[in-house]
Amino acid sequence: MASVNTEAKAENLEVKSTSRSSVLGFFMAAPPMLLVVCFVGIPILIALTFSLGFTSGPNRVVSIIGQEIHKKDHWWGTFAAYKDVFKDSRFPGDLRTTLVVSFLSTFLTLLMALGIGLYQRIMGGRIAAIMTTLCLVPLFVPVVISSWAIHTFYAGDGFMRSLLSHFGINFPTVTSTVSAIVIGSVWTSLPFAILMVTSGLQSIPDALIETAQDAGAGFFRIVRTVLIPLAITPIVIAGTFTAIGIMGSFTIPLFLGPNQPTMLGVEISNFFGAYNRPQQSIVMAFIVFTAASGIALIYIWANVKSAKQSGRI
């Protein structure tokens, strides 16, 4: 009987300790969650209601200042601001530019990160280490500085054109084109992508590669069937982060891109400031947000796949 009582007490103590630690855990997680709700969640909700024509409350001041403000005509609001944006002749070009630049830059960034990561994983050595370190340099250069550096390098009166003109080569002016945005985006995105991809490739045990070699596989087959599939999660994560970052970028397209069509980040700023059309700018922001959410789904898929593979879920 005594032992039954002791067991019951122990169980009781265990339950108390578990509930205490879960309360403690909740209070530890509460401050950051509260911050996210207050500074991200609520502003998003307010912006969404504004884009749907809810112009009172927190949206009252901006509704008074802004032009072409649409007020709700149903209980759920109105899509008038959305119609404005889709009817605007600039928007399709901007959207296309944003998507093309995001896709192209992400593709090139991943290609370069994979190339460098694979070189380091397979060849190793000092050259690979130097290359990887050099590729991390942009991580420590502010985007505004690097954008300006790229501008002076590729501008009409920039270094490239000046240098090559000495040899009689008429190098095209790259600045103020979509290509310049791609160059700038790859430059700024590469360090993070390299960190992710390289760490993913480095974590693959040598034995898995050597077994493939032993089975008769050559370099490209090993890359295709062993290295990339095993590092797919960090590669996908690097890709999604890069794509989302580029899609919402502002500084690089502002410094290096053309005036029209331009990327949506710049256009949102123009609509908000220069054109004083805050409702339409928020609509554009929501369109970018929706596209980014689609990419985020790929990120979630990659994480779930990785968790399943490692047996965490």
Binding site: P205, A207, L208, E210, T211, A212, Q213, D214, A215, G216, A217, G218, R221, T225, V226, P229, L230, Q309, S310, G311
Partner: protein, 339 residues
């Protein structure tokens, strides 16, 4: 091609490997007959895995050559060699099913789909894992993973099978079972096999011959019985089995003053309560139970000896008689006589 080279499956001729400025393998010679199972046995760092990796083609020797079935394969990469290796941690690709893991080498060779299926089923049948063909490596036990790795090696029908400490990640009971499975398979298929291990029990129980390695050289290459009964060097005698090591000489069943090393296996020390020919009075100073036998320390006038006794185990303080059946006498590390 001579009959001799046909018979000799693998020949390592004067292999030398220097890594990081250190000589890891030093002029190593070894001949493995076709269908033979040979163990490379030695402590960590003795060069056994380096030797195996040179045989597999992952390392190119700095000197010497490797011949396999009469063909020089020294400079061939692993993908070109007719060998298959099973790694210490099995090295199964976690993103592929058991079937795909085993089928991989055949897909690389671009064999027809139906032949791949037939051979993979055959290989999985040999290791009794057909029921797991659709499982991922993470879903099966360590022993089963080991068998998948073995099936992946066997499906290639290699001229030589290389096993790098394949049992070291398994628990003791499973290790015994899997090593018996490996031996049975190797005998049935008649495949030339080189296994690297640091476990002498493992080497003694499954090998046709064992190469005991020390500091990049082979100390002795013999059958397990010969290695145990007649270790050619003091190092081998110490490494294989237990040994009473005494400095001195040996004559008439007694250890006498001298400049040799006398090695006496504990099982070669016979204890009796009554006097027998060649036995000398001994007192039991310590008894350590070891399960199915006891390790008994016997103090004689000339020497203290350990003996393994499984029946009528004496107690501490008992007096009786201890006789040495066989002694190995070494001078400068080399066996000079068996007394």
């Amino acid at each position: 091609m001579s009959d001799q080279t046909q018979e000799e499956g693998l020949i390592l001729n004067g292999l030398t490997k220097i890594l990081g400025g250190r000589v890891i393998i030093d002029n190593l010679h070894l001949t493995v007959k076709k269908g033979e199972m040979v163990s490379l046995l030695g402590p960590s760092g003795c060069g056994k895995t380096t030797t195996l990796r040179m045989i597999a083609g992952f390392l190119i020797p700095d000197k010497g050559d490797i011949r396999l079935n009469g063909k020089d394969v020294t400079l061939l990469g692993p993908e070109k060699r007719p060998s298959a290796m099973v790694f210490q941690n099995y090295a199964l690709w976690p993103h592929m099913s058991v079937f795909k893991n085993v089928a991989y080498p055949l897909k690389v060779r671009k064999l027809p789909k139906d032949e791949i299926e037939r051979r993979v089923h055959e290989a999985l049948g040999v290791v009794n894992l057909m029921h797991h063909k659709d499982s991922r490596p993470g879903q099966i036990s360590g022993g089963e993973q080991q068998r998948v790795a073995l099936a992946r090696a066997l499906v290639q029908e290699p001229d030589i099978l290389l096993l790098d400490e394949p049992l070291s990640n398994l628990d003791a009971k499973l290790r015994v079972k899997v090593r018996e499975d490996i031996r049975e398979l190797q005998r049935r298929l008649g495949i030339t096999t080189v296994i690297v291990t640091h476990d002498q029990d493992e080497a003694l129980s499954i090998s046709d011959r064992i190469a005991v390695m020390n500091a990049g050289k082979i100390e002795q290459f013999s059958t397990p019985q010969e290695l145990y009964d007649r270790p050619e060097t003091e190092y081998v005698a110490n490494f294989i089995g237990s040994l009473n090591r005494v400095e001195g000489g040996y004559a008439d069943g007694k250890v006498i003053p001298g400049d040799e090393i006398v090695g006496i296996r504990p099982e070669d020390v016979i204890y009796s309560a009554t006097p027998t020919p060649g036995a000398f009075p001994a007192t039991v100073s310590l008894v350590v139970p070891r399960g199915h036998f006891s390790e008994v320390y016997l103090k004689r006038d000339d020497v203290e000896l350990r003996a393994f006794i499984s029946v009528d185990v004496p107690r501490v303080g008992d007096t009786g008689f201890a006789r040495v059946v066989k002694a190995l006498v070494y001078k400068d590390g080399k066996l000079v006589r068996v007394a």
